[in-house]
């Protein structure tokens, strides 16, 4: 048996998802038309937030929360960070980045430095504005809170995985007078962001950031493939619901047996 026990169904579902995403990437590469991503207010507002900070002469703050370097949310953050850092470098706006994870901090410093280099302003990059605060949750929250108050940030962009410190950041930045754009996949923190922030990216909207901001058709194609994957899963849910409600013993249905693969 070449496949590991209990993994055949997982592998097949994964391969179907891979094929769907691949098809739309291939279409985009080939110059064929792919559907556009709908307007996402939070991502549209990023440039507005940077503009506001530039006019007020106050810094932009960005943080990725508690995400580690291996988390998909952190990759979504980097897509936004790259864009914001480039804009800040172009408009000579200070950007402050606070970090919970040491490895993420190291990568963030490099992304921001590179953005300043590409904007032709390597001298304007301030290393001290990319800061590791702590890898204890509330020590990180306390340090960042202090930065909001002292530096009087004008724009606060939070994209990533957040836990309890989400509301601390949102409310502290509001008190500092910042416009706030937040996005997280942590469902428990979404209500706090919706209540306290000006714009909120809900769940997988943060994963569309790289495609949305770059407008790269290949990245857009991958997002469309992701949507088709979701449609496929919906079909599976509907079939499962019908089976669960109309079969005498749903656990004997071929679909259940296949997915459980025991």
């Amino acid at each position: 048996m070449i496949f590991a026990e209990g993994m055949i169904a997982d592998l097949l579902v994964m391969l179907v998802c891979v094929v769907l995403v691949f098809v739309f990437i291939y279409r985009a590469r080939g110059g064929m038309k792919v559907p556009a991503i709908r307007k996402i207010n939070g991502l549209e507002a990023i440039d507005e937030a940077i503009g506001r900070a530039t006019e007020m002469g106050r810094p932009v703050h960005m943080t990725s929360g508690l995400g580690a370097v291996s988390d998909a949310e952190t990759f979504a953050f980097w897509a936004v960070l790259g864009h914001v850092a480039k804009q800040c470098a172009r408009y000579d706006t200070r950007i402050i980045n606070t970090n919970y994870d040491e490895q993420v901090y190291a990568i963030n410093e490099e992304i921001i430095r590179q953005a300043y280099l590409e904007a032709g302003r390597p001298d304007a990059f301030n290393r001290d504005d990319v800061r590791f605060i702590s890898n204890w949750q509330f020590a990180y929250a306390a340090g960042t809170l202090g930065i909001f108050q002292r530096e009087k940030v004008a724009a606060n962009i939070m994209v990533g995985y957040f836990m309890a410190e989400a509301l601390v950041f949102a409310e502290a930045a509001y008190q500092a007078g910042a416009i706030q754009i937040a996005g997280t996949t942590a469902t428990a923190q979404l209500p706090f962001f919706i209540a306290a922030c000006d714009y909120c990216l809900i769940g997988e909207e943060i994963y569309a950031a790289s495609a949305y901001l770059s407008k790269d058709p290949i990245l857009v194609g991958s997002v469309v493939g992701q949507d088709w994957t979701r449609i496929g899963l919906f079909a599976l849910i509907i079939i499962g619901t019908v089976i669960a409600n109309f079969m005498a013993d749903p656990k004997k249905s071929p679909l259940y047996v296949f997915l459980k693969n025991k």
Partner: protein, 275 residues
């Protein structure tokens, strides 16, 4: 500035002072309030009470001091219930910031009920890369836990750990996970509940109960206690009232204050909008 402008824009410092008062006063002078038991809390209690006498309860202490108010009372009441049923308890903490506090409350309960460490209860403590250690413990607890308990004693020398070799239904009758985030209940779901079939119930903070409710509805968790109110309900069901019962009054009045402020703010907002 008229009254409706004031209602719409109360200074946050006034809100903070009022909130501090409505929380502090009921804590200093507890006000008994009737509790209604949520279905999920009843499920949680029924699950734990239905575990076999003399069996093994695995407690996951996956939280730190910030969430202790909501979760420790559930742990204490559950431990007392388990010890009353002559069950053995194994404690494992996936948050290093909570390992000591978890050990302390379980030790206090065990001492109160005359239970012996190593025979009736064991604290594995926290291990680096805790989620992966948990997965390893579904094959061999002692090897995955690097052979030592919370205080550095040899696990193999403890009578309880000589009987309970791995986290499977054969050795562990049920799991209670006290969780506030990640790693936590989802880690148990991924590595223990689904692959190995060990039944589990959870105690969560109020802020994360919305996130875990779908899994309770799907039967993946056998019940849930929802924050401080769920802890108070659980204490009532077990017959061991504690700090959650004492604190529910403070929570009730703080909720009432927030709702009152929201209503007043909306009155001011609607009147001003119409004006």
């Amino acid at each position: 500035m008229n009254i409706f402008d004031v209602l719409q824009s109360v200074d946050r410092r006034v809100i903070y002072v009022l909130l501090a008062l409505v929380i502090a006063i009921p804590l200093l002078k507890p006000i008994p309030l009737p509790l209604s038991i949520a279905p999920e809390t009843q499920q949680c209690y029924d699950f734990l009470n239905g575990l076999p006498d003399g069996g093994v309860l695995w407690i996951g202490g996956d939280y730190d001091s910030g969430s202790a108010t909501e979760l420790t009372p559930v742990g204490i009441a559950a431990a007392k219930l388990a010890f009353k049923k002559n069950m053995k308890i194994i404690l494992y903490s996936m948050w290093n910031t909570g390992a000591t506090q978890n050990h302390n409350w379980l030790k206090a309960v065990a001492d109160e009920m005359g239970k012996q460490y190593g025979v009736d209860w064991v604290d594995i403590g926290w291990k680096a890369q805790a989620p992966y250690v948990l997965r390893g413990m579904t094959d061999d607890i002692i090897t995955a836990a690097q052979g030592t308990d919370f205080e550095g004693n040899s696990l193999a020398s403890l009578p309880l750990m000589q009987q309970v070799k791995k986290i499977t239904p054969e050795y562990v009758d049920g799991i209670l996970d006290l969780t506030t985030g990640s790693p936590g209940a989802d880690t148990y779901l991924q590595y223990v509940i689904e692959p190995k079939g060990v039944p589990c119930t959870v105690a969560v903070t109020a802020v994360s109960s919305a996130q875990y409710m779908p899994r309770v509805r799907a039967g993946q968790y056998k019940g849930l206690t929802n924050g401080l109110s769920g802890a108070a309900e659980f204490e009532k069901l077990t017959g061991f009232p504690g700090k959650a019962t004492a604190g529910i009054g403070a929570q009730a009045f703080s909720h009432a204050l927030i709702i009152l402020l929201i209503i007043l703010g909306n009155i001011g907002y609607v009147v001003n909008r119409r004006g």
